[in-house]
């Protein structure tokens, strides 16, 4: 386990720990990537794959899967209610944090991140497997999805603006300014307007990670957020384009810095930037 200065060090495990628990029946290692075929290229031995798009999203409406489908997913992955789920993935664990956030919507108790993710595992020369494991189905029982505690909707954002509370736009500076949507020759990013939600501070998500993909120190993370007015005494809403990058920032603020009230607005810019009448700043 990690012994560091984070508010919730139990939310991180190191690659050494994972290597020692590859066959632990109480542990399920889960790879969740942006690149949907990286798992097939090779993965941590025994790991299962959870695809944010095909596994976690409702196939029809823009929402996450419901309790019943989550239970089916858990059963298929051999995850029981008391299983320790270790997420890892590409791009500084960006998608791993997203999957963890969805697991927390269903209140899965023990879900953690492998610090450094896929790249650190590979850089350390550790074994990769192409075998897809099969685990015995479980009788998982989830609670109904909780959309109030860590998830924000557009009305929450409007109230946040009215109250002058901090919003964190974790996209790149070019997206924040609206510049990227107007680059000629590039696909549109699914929004009709560029810019950001009024009052939002731009703190790109990846600044919380080191070159090797591990999370920065508590002191460095504090310096990233607090000078921008993003402090633990306030309710925070983070957003990006569809809520994936901001789940990384949600993880950092909630578990590494211990902020008590952080929500992820998964509607994010693809909703706000298309919403008729919604105020925008550039």
């Amino acid at each position: 386990m990690s012994t560091n200065g984070y508010a919730h060090p139990e939310m991180l495990v190191e690659t050494d720990w994972v290597a020692e628990h590859l066959k632990d029946p109480k542990v399920r290692i889960v790879e969740s990537d942006e690149d949907v075929l990286l798992y097939e290229v090779g993965h941590v031995p025994g790991a299962v794959k959870i695809d944010w798009h095909t596994d976690l999203q409702d196939p029809l409406k823009r929402d996450y899967i419901d309790r019943e489908r989550f239970e089916q997913l858990m059963s298929k992955a051999g995850i029981a209610n008391d299983t320790k789920v270790v997420f890892y993935g590409d791009k500084n664990n960006w998608w791993a944090c997203y999957a963890l956030w969805v697991f927390k919507l269903f209140a899965h108790k023990d879900a953690v991140i492998m610090n450094g993710g896929r790249q650190k595992w590979i850089d350390e020369g550790r074994e990769l497997s192409k075998d897809t494991p099969s685990y015995a189905p479980t009788q998982y029982r989830a609670q109904e999805r909780d959309d109030k505690t860590i998830r924000a909707f557009r009305e929450d954002v409007r109230e946040h603006i009215s109250s002058g509370l901090p919003l964190v736009d974790v996209r790149s500076p070019q997206e924040y300014s609206g510049e990227l949507l107007h680059m000629p020759g590039y696909p549109q990013e699914g929004a009709l307007r560029g810019g950001h939600i009024p009052g939002a501070k731009n703190i790109p998500w990846a600044r919380a990670a080191r070159e090797n993909g591990t999370f920065k120190s508590p002191e460095e993370l504090t310096q990233l957020y607090q000078p921008q007015g993003v402090t633990p005494d306030k309710d925070i809403i983070a957003y990006c384009r569809i809520g994936e990058r901001s789940s990384h920032s949600w993880f950092v603020l909630t578990y590494l810095l211990g902020y008590p009230n952080v929500k992820n607005y998964d509607g994010s810019w693809t909703e706000w930037g298309n919403l008729v009448g919604a105020p925008i700043e550039k």
Binding site: E34, D35, V36, L37, L38, E40, V41, D51, H53, T54, K91, W94, R171, S172, P173, Q174, E175, L180, M183, G185, Y186, P187, E189, P204, W205, A206, R207, R241, R245
Partner: protein
């Protein structure tokens, strides 16, 4: 092919890319990217006097699907004219890679073809002015998510 065979097909192109590299003095040099996920591809194309492709290369970085799709596209280009490029079917490319496998990343799967089509459409007007179509290189870091 079943799903696993499609995956093997994609990974073969990813691990052993066809036409990866650059060409000196191309007639067409176009690039494109997906700002959301950091894929970037640059295409180098040489054309004969009848605007028929004599050679093509791609360079770039990105996910398995975008790089495999770029490689697959390179295999199809020599001998094609610009109208042929315009007529190329996105759906056929997607089907060739396995629609079920790439459906959540259609933009990645079609990035190279989309970029090439954009260049092919613009090239005639450039040629009419006696110029080649050379777009400035896009630096990958400007497309990444910071």
């Amino acid at each position: 092919m079943d799903r696993q065979e499609y995956i093997e097909f994609i990974l073969d192109h990813y691990h052993n890319p066809r036409g990866k590299g650059k060409l000196d003095d191309p007639d067409l040099l176009v690039n494109g990217g997906n700002p959301g996920c950091g894929d970037v591809v640059t295409l180098y194309v040489k054309l004969d006097d009848n605007d028929r492709i004599t050679d093509a290369r791609f360079d770039g970085e990105g996910c398995t699907i975008s790089m495999a799709a770029s490689s697959l596209l390179m295999e199809k280009l020599v001998g094609k004219t610009l109208p042929d490029i315009d007529a190329m079917d996105y759906a056929e490319l997607v089907d060739e890679m396995g629609r079920e496998v790439v459906q959540s990343r259609l933009r990645c799967a079609t990035l190279a073809m989309d970029t090439l089509k954009a260049g092919a459409r613009e090239y005639p007007s450039r040629k009419a002015t006696g110029q080649k179509l050379i777009q400035p290189m896009v630096l990958a870091h400007t497309l990444k998510t910071d």
